[in-house]
Amino acid sequence: MENHVIEMLNIRKEFPGIVANDNITIQLKKGEIHALLGENGAGKSTLMNVLFGLYQPEKGEIKVKGKKVNITDPNVANDLGIGMVHQHFMLVDTFTVTQNIILGHEPKKFGFIDLKKAEKEVADLSERYGLKVDPYAKIRDISVGMQQRVEILKTLYRGAEVLILDEPTAVLTPQEIEELIKILKSLVNEGISIILITHKLKEIMEVCDRCTVIRKGQGIGTVNVAETSTDELASLMVGREVSFTTEKQDANPGKTVLSVKDLRVKDNRKVEMVKGLNLDVKAGEIVGIAGVDGNGQSELIEAITGLKSIESGSIFLNDKEITNLSPRKVTQSGVSHIPQDRHKFGLVLDFPIGENMVLQSYYQKPFSKNGILSFNNIYDKAKRLIEEYDVRTPSEYTKARALSGGNQQKAIIAREVDRSPDLIIAAQPTRGLDVGAIEFIHKKLIEERDKGRAVLLISFELDEVMNVSDRIAVMFDGNIIANVLPQETNEQELGLLMAGSNQAKEGAQ
């Protein structure tokens, strides 16, 4: 008999109006990294939440080390050595790393929390697995990548032998992903078994031993990664062939739509992040901004969209100045914005998905007449968008919160693209999307380009920038330090440029 640490057999989980998991089986061997693959809304997070005790399955059984168990809540999961890092982190911002890790499991001395001891333990654990986490830092001061490691440490601190990671790489930069992969490998060497949810097939090929595929809530099967290919994985998961390179005609740029001149922007800490940047985007072209996170991309977007006031410089849209206009005015002048952080900016999670579809246009006809909302028109519109963009949701009345991460993103994209703006700003538009959805979104962006719209794409994903853009602007330290054409460059050169190696040569300020 094989040595399985976890077996989930024929699991079924229903939500009102939807079967999220139907007869799914997944078996995790000791010391393996097991990928869980499926489209957005296929039921991956749900299945893992069942294993972690957050949901109770309607049918099926769970075995831990061959023994049948009943995981009624996360504490039981903890006791069984199962730890989970969720798609969206659950950390207390104002606490330190150590305080977050021990939360609920505080070591005590004379009835008081023994923080010293905890800090030492955290430092030791971090050392042992090469996590390089500072036990004393506050969560709000550390990067997303670090926060994720804190989540991993939290599970290890609680004695996890099985680690569930729900789309850990979706929020990371390519550099951070490489480091995470190293960490995962060292965890496995220490005897920990990992279930990894990811949409990135390359990652599966690189680190995973086996891969279980689910499609629309159904278990499709488990394959050995060594015996498969990305093409096979993609077609298993989507149920059809998927093309990875996006087909597109050459761009046919028209007049300048967006023109940014000598822009300077400070971030919230009053540090200058955009330092005299110039950028033009023409009608009918997609300009991709390549760059490592934190080089001023967010500030650039916020300045254009009116979310942040600028220090100096000017921004023009179709030759009309939009510098420092309010977000409402910027939207009205024809700008759409797919925000990088969909939970913070993109959606009101407790609104139904239908109401989210009119977040910028609720006050306009036909959604509002004389200040009264017309819910018929709002929900008609939502229904149409949901169908057109294949947003998988039980209905347009479902709260946005209940949608799977990828489907939330599709809803935002539907809303933004459908407004037929002159300029679409897409920040990480395919983060957390499955390959099929990525293909779809890329097609949509190119379609919009072909309709004569200007598209500004910001992505940390080199593949995406290379595939979709007609022109690539490399951003480093608050400036565009190089303009390159995708057909004349390669990932290596881009990588070097992104690290700022061009700076001296070009003599940029």
Binding site: Q56, E58, T72, T305, L307, S326, P327, R328, K329, V330, T331, Q332, H337, P339, K344, F345, G346, L347, V348, L349, D350, F351, E355, L359, Q360, Y362, Y363, S368, G371, I372, L373
Partner: protein, 348 residues
């Protein structure tokens, strides 16, 4: 087993039941008969036209302050200042009611509007400070409560009267009370105000759920960042929410000034109508219809309690304890929710 909606209904009902049971246990342990006590309570609230009239009268301002707090909550704000807004609303209503000469169809609405405007202004100040300077509304509204209390006492003593501790009675043309209602209810102080309160509840529901303005207010309450991203003005909505919330509370003051009392005495302490509104809003789930039911419950408890000492010998302090216990159980509804979820799990 339970749908979400059922859940939201069950939690307050169970809270109330637990509060009543706890109250019964306390009565028992002090040697009183809880059944007699609760019968006296019931009769004290509904047993005669007079009691019924008094109960509804008490419910009226509770609905309005409950709405005030609930409205602010829906927009993500905690308006502890309803108390002060009640006081300034009361004062404004009585001021107009005593000094202006006009036919009723002008005078009464004018007095009501004055109360709402005064309350709204009292909400505007903390709203403005919150929106522009980020000062927490709880701190400012608490301070505004004291300012309202002492300023209104000063105005009554030195501006509206000559060092008296109460204003004159308002003119007939500004009164919410009506003889036929009083006669019908054996001379209780019931007045037309209940219609104002119910209309206010409908207004709140309509504004929040059906209008563009309400959409913005709810959106800002749930996610400021997304609202800003979508082009709404977060500060404008914070201020607007506080003004409307204050307006409701100001109207509650008008109920006292134009209805129940017909004048305004100086107050040595807070009226508590505003503070009780917090509990009403909480019990009513911050929902306009829920607030009406919760206000009814509070009115029944408050007025019915007056009957308990005389009929059942139970001290009215005990009723205060029962009310406190109900609030406690509502406040800890998390525990009830958790217990229900447990039940639900085992049910499957």
């Amino acid at each position: 087993m339970f749908s979400n909606r059922m859940f939201n209904l069950l939690v307050p009902i169970i809270s109330v039941l637990l509060g009543l049971i706890a109250g019964a246990i306390i009565m028992l342990s002090f040697g009183y008969n809880p059944i007699d006590g609760y019968i006296a309570l019931w009769n004290g609230a509904f047993g005669s036209p007079y009691f019924f009239g008094e109960t509804i009268r008490q419910v009226t301002p509770y609905i309005l302050t409950g709405l005030a707090i609930a409205f602010a909550f829906k927009t993500g704000l905690f308006n502890i200042g309803a108390e002060g807004q009640v006081i300034v609303g009361w004062l404004a209503a009585v001021w107009i009611g005593t000094t202006v000469d006009a036919p009723m169809f002008i005078h009464l609405p004018l007095a009501l509007i004055a109360a709402a405007v005064a309350g709204g202004l009292w909400g505007f100040i903390p709203g403005l400070l919150k929106a522009k300077l980020g000062v927490h509304e709880v701190i400012i509204t608490i301070m505004m409560n004291y300012i309202a209390l002492y300023v209104s006492n000063g105005i009554i003593r030195d501006v509206l009267t000559d060092s008296k501790d109460s204003t004159d009675t308002i003119k007939e043309s500004a009164a919410l009370s009506a003889n036929w209602i009083m006669e019908l209810t054996s001379y209780s102080r019931l007045h037309y105000g209940i219609i104002v309160a119910l209309a206010a509840a409908v207004f709140m529901w309509f504004l929040l759920e059906k209008t563009t303005t309400g959409y913005e207010l709810r959106s800002v309450g749930l996610n400021k960042h997304a609202s800003e991203y979508a082009g709404m003005s977060v500060s404008k909505n914070i201020i607007l929410a506080m003004v409307i919330s204050g307006g409701f509370a100001g109207l509650a003051g008008a109920m006292e000034g134009l209805g129940t009392f017909g004048y305004m005495p100086t107050h040595s302490a807070f009226t508590n109508i505003g503070f009780d509104g917090i509990a009403v809003a909480l019990l009513g789930g911050n929902n306009a219809f829920g607030v009406i039911l919760a206000a009814l419950l509070f009115g029944v408890l408050k007025i019915g309690a007056l009957n308990m000492p005389t009929v059942a010998g139970v001290p009215s302090e005990l009723v205060e304890i029962v009310i406190a216990l109900i609030i406690f159980f509502v406040g800890s509804s998390y525990i009830i929710r958790w217990a229900l979820l447990r039940l639900k799990k085992e049910g499957n």
